[in-house]
């Protein structure tokens, strides 16, 4: 892609600021009176701005800066030199991070303690779902009934009682029937 015949002002500005290291471009600016004038104007503007600000700084009375130093000196904290003071300084600087980290770690540890497997007393709180007959031994009575014998199986639970009567007819009666 060929370069335009007239360098743009943006290229010119970048050249003036030392952002282009292109001898060909520099040669083209050298051969262009208008470009040279603009380069001079950029340089002049820079000198005006810089000179004006530096003169403004020079205009400030020394007493103001002396007072400023006294205020700065009053707020300076001596840098840490010993091990303990270094640790203290580190803690001061990262105090919020350390506290946040400690709280987070504590919360995680507490959660892990509560939720860790095998430590919760489940037996104390769990509902026994086994059949009643397996929870307590049934009470068994025998009865003689006409034409046979019966067995009464009583099951006692916490809230109710249940009984099963098992009738066994005599063999002779069975044959008669």
């Amino acid at each position: 892609m060929s370069r335009p015949s007239t360098p743009s002002d943006l290229e010119l500005m970048a050249h003036a600021d030392g952002e282009h290291d292109d001898p060909e471009l520099a040669a083209r600016f050298d051969g262009d009176a208008d470009a040279r004038a603009k380069l001079d104007a950029i340089q002049q503007l820079g000198e005006l701005v810089r000179g004006h600000l530096e003169l403004s700084a020079d205009d400030v009375h020394d007493a103001k800066f002396a007072a400023m130093w006294r205020r700065i000196d009053g707020q300076l904290v001596a840098p840490a030199t010993g091990l303990w003071s270094r640790v203290s300084a580190w803690f001061d600087r990262y105090r919020s991070h350390v506290i946040t980290g400690a709280i987070s770690a504590g919360a995680v540890a507490a959660l892990a303690l509560v939720l860790r497997p095998g430590t919760t007393d489940l037996a104390a709180h769990a509902i026994d779902v086994r059949p009643v007959a397996q929870r307590a031994a049934p009470e068994i009575d025998s009865l003689e009934t006409p034409g046979g014998s019966s067995t009464v199986i009583s099951l006692a639970d916490d809230d109710s009682n249940a009984a099963v009567i098992w009738v066994t007819p005599d063999e002779s009666d069975a044959e008669e029937i």
Partner: protein, 238 residues
């Protein structure tokens, strides 16, 4: 000046000026005199930078004070990869931009900075005052006009212009400082310069009488021995 328990300070009397790195190292060990020497070396230059951005003398003083306090607080983080002043000006620049954001009364209106139209109807002007800028700065009226022109710039345009003209930062360095692209920096700088030229345009046609005389009598630039206007020590920078 040293508090009890602090080490003996580095003296600058009777020998070559102490290198910034030695002063920083001494200040890191608790030598307040060393830090004071750094303050004395750079406070006016830091003030010029802050003033260029925040535009109010008292605000600029506040920014500089805060910058030195912050620099001392984080002195142990300074590793010496850059010069002390390069490190300091970044602190000053950040505080100055923060100050503008906190005290912003009117939302700045700027052009679309993603568009760069250098070949538009408003190119850079080929000249400003036509004379010697050093002489021009002796004129209070011209300095007042420069102040007004700087005030007219948006915060971003002014910040870029000041960083470039006062500190000589590259586009890349400015892009890092302002967290934007190099293209945006170029656009801001271009428009800042163009707007400054526009603001100062009438000085071309109607320069103050004294300046006009000066310009007429100006010596050949090649033999110009006019003293530079400012005394700030740019040579110690970067």
């Amino acid at each position: 000046m040293n508090k009890p328990g602090q080490q003996a300070s580095i003296s600058t009397h009777g020998r070559d000026p102490v290198d910034d790195r030695e002063l920083v190292a001494a200040a890191q060990r608790g030598d307040r005199d060393a830090f004071k020497t750094l303050f004395e070396r750079y406070h006016r230059r830091a003030y010029a930078l802050a003033l260029g951005v925040v535009r109010h003398p008292d605000d600029a003083l506040d920014v500089v004070q805060e910058a030195f306090i912050k620099a001392h607080k984080y002195l142990d983080k300074f590793e010496g990869n850059a010069s002390f002043y390069t490190w300091l000006y970044r602190i000053v620049m950040n505080l100055a931009i923060d100050h503008l954001r906190k005290h912003r009364r009117v939302k700045p209106v700027e052009l679309d900075e993603t568009r760069i139209e250098p070949d538009s109807d408003e190119p850079l002007l080929p000249r400003i005052l036509g004379g010697n800028p050093g002489q021009a700065l002796m004129d209070k009226q011209i300095r007042s006009r420069i102040d007004q022109a700087l005030d007219q710039l948006s915060e971003n345009h002014r910040s870029v212009l000041v960083m470039r003209e006062l500190e000589g930062l590259s586009y890349e360095e400015m892009a890092q400082a302002m967290s934007c692209s190099k293209g945006t920096i170029m656009s801001r700088l271009f428009h800042a310069r163009r707007n400054m030229q526009k603001q100062l345009l009438d000085l071309l046609d109607h320069p103050p009488a004294d300046l006009a005389d000066d310009v007429a009598d100006a010596p050949d630039p090649a033999n110009d021995e006019t003293p530079k206007p400012a005394r700030a020590a740019r040579s110690q920078s970067r």
